[in-house]
């Protein structure tokens, strides 16, 4: 038996040694647009910097696509539509299988790049983002020649046409896969607009598409900020828009699409309830709370940001939660031991800090039990929870999109359900109880597109994801997700 390092004295703390991911990834000084199967210069010649949020170092300069670039991309997608649709479905499938395989083969590089560009812990990009992105392509590849079984009551489902897809910065490559895989499987062509702070893996995906010989124009990637996305939404040559992002922008897009009757699916914000009943397995529930709100720094649309704890166990849950939070490791996203990485951008950090201040002003108690030393550079926010939160408080109603949890209590299942549903959002919910009958009844009555029972934040290519109410409409993933990309 090895001696304790401090002789006979009991060891009270065991520090982790740094375990940084070291595999080098070459990042070009500047990126281009991917249009018609070629990497091209942006029409405006303009670029903007993309920053590593953990170091504030500039990683690369991203091409700023404008309306002319969007127009070129839509034309390329339109031109590619017919030949792509005419390809035998089983051949289309093989392209998607190829893409899935190449993502798996380049997984390490993609994971590192994702963590550098977005700030998420390497263990999440390595174990969640990239494997799931590959799975989405692999799963949807197999749908290509089976679409008539996916839409009950439809004999010959057809593609919708040219799809404009706008994705967020929280799961950059994964969201690209969620959007691209079903669209391509159904025979559509695509113009993809990545989020401006996280374009690097999308451009790496463009390389992969080229490696896989995907016919030119089937996928076009135009990087840029909000104006680029708006040009895509407003383009008359686009048959369908798919957007993941904030409810505010989603409503603007809905207005724009309403005018032209453009087909639309939206995956928007949330303020999801995580409900812990007194008969739950408490230690597992604590892990579920952590997974629910601090996964990906809380930059998750379905984050369990409203915690409802049955009154009798509130003291126990908050005590255990505080203990667990002290052990979370906040810091270098590239360290394999890191639990919580950097906040995605300076702007997002300001928004989160604004909400924490607002909660404090409204009379909530702000708890940040984790006292770990944070790096001096970069954008950081300690895992935070607030107690004494009232339903009317801003922090209980609005999506913070950061590692901030609002803790509230309830007395009866009725109260838990009505308070959980008392939100314009309806994306996800969590239920923790060991009583099956209660679990199923509560699951049925919660207005949420995904209900995690005794687990949280699980995703899979075969499992439809999407919201009720103002969290958007349409599903992504699984059989039900295909409907958005098919016409009768």
């Amino acid at each position: 038996m090895a001696d304790a390092p401090t002789g006979n004295r009991p060891v009270t703390t065991w520090e982790y040694s740094p375990a940084p991911e070291t595999s080098p990834v070459v990042i070009p000084d500047q990126t281009q647009l991917y249009v018609g199967g070629k990497f091209i210069e942006p029409h405006s010649k303009k670029r903007f910097a993309t920053v590593n949020p953990a170091t504030e170092a500039i990683l690369s300069n991203i091409a700023d696509g404008d309306a002319a670039d969007v127009d070129a991309a839509v034309s390329a997608a339109r031109k590619a539509l017919k030949p792509w649709g005419k390809l035998p479905a089983s051949e289309r499938a093989k392209y998607l299988y190829r893409i899935a395989r190449r993502i798996q083969e380049r997984a390490r590089e993609l994971a590192i790049l994702e963590s550098m560009d977005g700030g998420k812990p390497i263990k999440e990009s390595r174990d969640v983002d990239i494997p799931l992105a590959a799975q989405h392509f692999f799963h949807h590849a197999g749908w290509c020649d089976k679409l008539r079984y996916a839409m009950p009551g439809t004999r010959e489902p057809r593609p919708v046409g040219v799809c404009g897809q706008i994705i967020p910065w929280n799961f950059p490559l994964l969201m690209a896969a969620w959007k691209l895989a079903p669209a391509l499987a159904c025979g559509n062509t695509v113009v993809l607009k990545p989020a401006e702070t996280t374009s690097l893996t999308a451009m790496r995906l463009a390389e992969i598409l080229q490696e896989c010989d995907l016919p030119p124009g089937v996928v076009n990637i135009v990087t840029g900020a909000g104006a680029t996305g708006k040009a895509l939404v407003d383009h008359a040559g686009v048959d369908k828009i798919a957007f993941t992002g904030s409810t505010e922008v989603g409503k603007q897009i809905a207005q724009a699409c309403a005018k032209r009757g453009t087909r639309l699916t939206l995956e928007l914000g949330g303020k999801s309830a995580n409900i812990i009943f007194a008969d739950a397995a408490i230690d597992q529930a604590i892990e579920g709370i952590v997974q629910g709100i601090w996964f990906n720094q809380g930059h998750v649309c379905c984050a369990g940001s409203r915690l409802f704890v049955e009154e009798s166990i509130l003291p126990e849950v908050t005590r255990k939660l505080e203990m667990r939070m002290k052990t979370l490791r906040v810091g270098d996203p590239l360290d394999k031991n890191t639990d919580i990485g950097a906040i995605n951008s300076k702007q997002q950090l300001a928004i989160i800090e604004g909400y924490i201040a607002e909660g404090s002003r409204e009379g909530c108690t702000v708890c940040q039990p984790n006292h770990q030393t944070l790096p001096t550079k970069g954008y950081w926010c300690r895992p935070t929870f607030m107690t004494g939160v009232q339903p009317a408080h801003v922090v209980a109603r609005e999506e913070i999109f950061g590692p901030v949890l609002a803790v509230m209590s309830f007395r009866t299942p009725e109260e838990a359900i009505s308070r959980a549903n008392n939100s314009p959002y309806g994306l996800a919910a969590g239920i923790w109880t060991e009583k099956g009958s209660k679990m199923f009844d509560v699951a049925r009555r919660l207005q949420a597109g995904v209900v995690w029972c005794n687990t949280y934040n699980q995703f899979d290519a075969t499992s439809p994801f999407g919201g009720f109410k103002e969290s958007g409409f349409g599903r992504e993933g699984g059989m039900q997700g295909l409907a958005a990309y098919l016409s009768e």
Binding site: P152, G153, K259, V450, D460, T462, K469, G478
Partner: protein, 293 residues
């Protein structure tokens, strides 16, 4: 006995809200004119407040209706078909009164409407099997997706339709069968068949508030429907102008909007009893649970 011709009792058709038949709170009425240009009756001209009350009634009825068993909903909708069958002649007369279609055509439409009701009744306890799934996720989880009703649906007959009964039933049955509560706006040019369905509904044991029927100016109502925050979905036959109003307003709270063209052919049974039509009034809910010992 007097020998003068008996004076007919003129009826004012009222609204159908929460199982009762109120007049419009506004006191407004509209004349109903037959094809010869004669006055048949008066209709209640629904106001914004009437619409709001109908939506409130539907919201109140939604938990009970959506929470009832699919078997029960199926039996109630089938009961509606039974009751409609008993009122065939009256329904045909209602159709002919304003549209002037032949007796044969009216009979055919009534038959088609009743048959459609029977067909939809049968979907109540089957569509979850067709639209739902058990998902083979790559991990130790039990994962399934099931369709659940969106909530309150407003069905709008936005254009005059000679096939007012078949069109009306095709608008309201899919949301009803999926467990939504419905507020239906019947077009004021040929409203009688729809208003008769409203009068028949309580005898079919459709719970109060589950189906509400109002008559009014579709153009006027469209803006209020679109901006109402407690309406979850809109199912409408509409011209471009009403469709635009409904779509634009709906973007405010992201209502699910399904607009049918005014030239829709409702006689295509295959198309109008297709379970795809139900998909518009449901939300897919996916439930995860770990599978472990």
């Amino acid at each position: 006995m007097s020998d003068h011709e008996r004076l007919a009792v003129l009826k004012t058709w009222k609204l159908f809200i929460k199982g009762s038949f109120p007049r419009s709170e506004s006191g407004r009425t509209l004349p109903l004119i037959n094809k010869e240009g004669g006055l048949v009756a008066h209709l209640s001209h629904a106001s914004r407040k009437d619409l709001r009350e109908a939506v409130e009634a539907a919201r109140g009825a939604f938990p009970g209706w959506s929470g009832s068993t699919a078997y029960l909903r199926s039996q109630i909708i089938y009961r509606l078909a039974e009751m409609l069958e008993g009122r065939r002649a009256e329904l045909a007369d209602a159709l002919r009164c304003t549209s002037g279609v032949s007796k044969k055509k009216a009979d055919t439409e009534v038959s088609a409407s009743i048959d459609r009701t029977v067909s939809w009744a049968g979907w109540c306890d089957k569509f979850p099997m067709v639209l739902g799934s058990r998902n083979p996720v790559a991990g130790p989880y039990h994962n399934f997706s099931m369709p659940e009703p969106s909530g309150v649906c407003v069905a709008v007959q936005g254009v005059a339709d000679q096939h007012s009964l078949l069109g009306f039933m095709s608008l309201v049955l899919p949301p009803l069968c999926t467990g939504n509560a419905v507020v239906a706006v019947a077009h004021t040019e040929h409203p009688l068949a729809a208003l008769l369905v409203a009068e028949i509904a309580p005898t079919a044991d459709i719970p109060a508030g589950v189906l509400n029927v109002i008559t009014g100016d579709a153009k006027e109502l469209a803006g209020w429907i679109a901006s109402h925050r407690d309406v979850d979905s809109v199912h409408a036959i509409a011209d471009e102008s009403i469709a635009a109003t409904l779509r634009a307003g709906a973007a405010e709270n992201l209502k699910r909007v399904q607009i049918l063209s005014k030239d829709e052919d409702f006689s295509d049974t295959d198309r109008w009893t297709n379970p795809r039509r139900l998909a518009m009034f449901v939300e897919i809910k996916t439930v995860w649970h770990p599978s472990a010992t």
